[in-house]
């Protein structure tokens, strides 16, 4: 067992180590994706309103 196989096996702890890193990816990646998509949605909505509501184009 060497190289990539050895790395993936994590000395027999693969079933604990990889799910821990996967959990980090899911939780933190999820928070990031959720926050960024909400931000983009708000930006788009504000732009739309500023186009349609006259007098709204003030900073």
């Amino acid at each position: 067992m060497s190289g990539l196989d050895g790395f993936l096996a994590m000395g027999g702890y693969a079933v604990f180590v990889w799910p821990a890193y996967a959990a980090a990816l899911i939780v933190l990646g999820g928070l990031a994706a959720w926050s960024i998509s909400g931000y983009r949605r708000a930006q788009r909505e504000l732009e739309r309103l500023q186009r349609t509501v006259p007098g709204a184009r003030r900073p």
Binding site: G11, G12, A20, A23, G38, Y39, A42, L46, V53, A56
Partner: protein, 252 residues
């Protein structure tokens, strides 16, 4: 502080630093993951399972750190009625809940091979679970009122009461007999952890901190944009009502 308090100034400043924070986050997490998975040595007792530490410990630090931010913002909101303080607290809460959940999940995945159990009701684990429920309670309470101002006040009071849990978490491993090991980094007399593991840990922790700052700024900016959107919609509705009245008068 007061100088950054103005929402317009906050939008300008946060817009300027946001790309730098995001870039630094990506860089630190990439380097941190490389060090944690490939460079740090396996532990002489725990073997490769020790690599869970590089996610678990930074997540645990962030869980408490973000709660301190939440409580501090809540105090500022209650005392000075600062418009940005409530927004900061409400933006931080889901992020803190996420870090706490990650801490609990990775702790469980570490506990099973090392302690032989996924969970024990000992002081450290239980106090962190209480922290998770404090976050959820705060989020639920803030959204439970029709009037946002009242929700924010109730949430801020809960956040401040919950601060008592922070020293309990920190000192739980000293005050009670727990399965959880005592502090090995932030302790009197300096860290007891080898430098080859301490560096990857600190870089991951810094990466988590910058990720939090980046997402906090994004969420606060979103909240300020949402306030602007509400104001514009209100204006739109008012104008529509006015023109309806005018049309009605012209017709009669």
């Amino acid at each position: 502080m007061q100088r950054f308090a103005n929402p317009a100034r906050f939008m300008r400043l946060s817009g300027a630093i946001l790309p730098w924070c995001a870039g630094a986050t990506a860089l630190l997490l990439a380097v941190g993951l490389y060090l944690a998975l490939l460079v740090a040595p396996p532990d002489y007792q725990q073997g490769e399972a020790v690599r869970i530490m590089f996610v678990h410990v930074p997540a645990a630090w962030m869980a408490s750190f973000v709660y301190a931010i939440l409580a501090l913002s809540s105090a500022v909101a209650l005392i000075w009625r600062h418009p940005l303080a409530d927004i900061a607290a409400q933006s931080a809460a889901p992020l803190g809940a996420g870090f706490t959940l990650l801490c609990l999940v990775t702790g469980s995945l570490w506990g099973e091979p090392m302690w032989g159990t996924w969970w024990v009701w000992d002081a450290r684990l239980t106090s962190v679970l209480v922290l998770f429920f404090l976050y959820l309670g705060y989020i639920a309470l803030v959204n439970a009122f029709d009037e946002p101002v009242r929700g924010a006040r109730a949430g801020a009071i809960l956040a401040l009461v919950g601060v008592v849990n922070l020293p309990i978490i920190k000192f739980s491993v000293d005050w009670w007999n727990t399965l959880h090991q005592p502090a090995s980094v932030f302790r009197i007399g300096g860290p007891t952890i080898a430098a080859s593991m301490l560096w990857p840990l600190l870089i991951m922790a810094l990466g988590f901190t910058l990720l939090f700052i980046t997402l906090l700024l994004i969420r606060m900016r979103t909240a300020l944009l949402a306030a602007k959107i509400r104001a514009l919609r209100m204006a739109e509705v008012e104008r529509a009502a006015e023109s309806a009245v005018l049309r009605h008068r012209a017709a009669s």
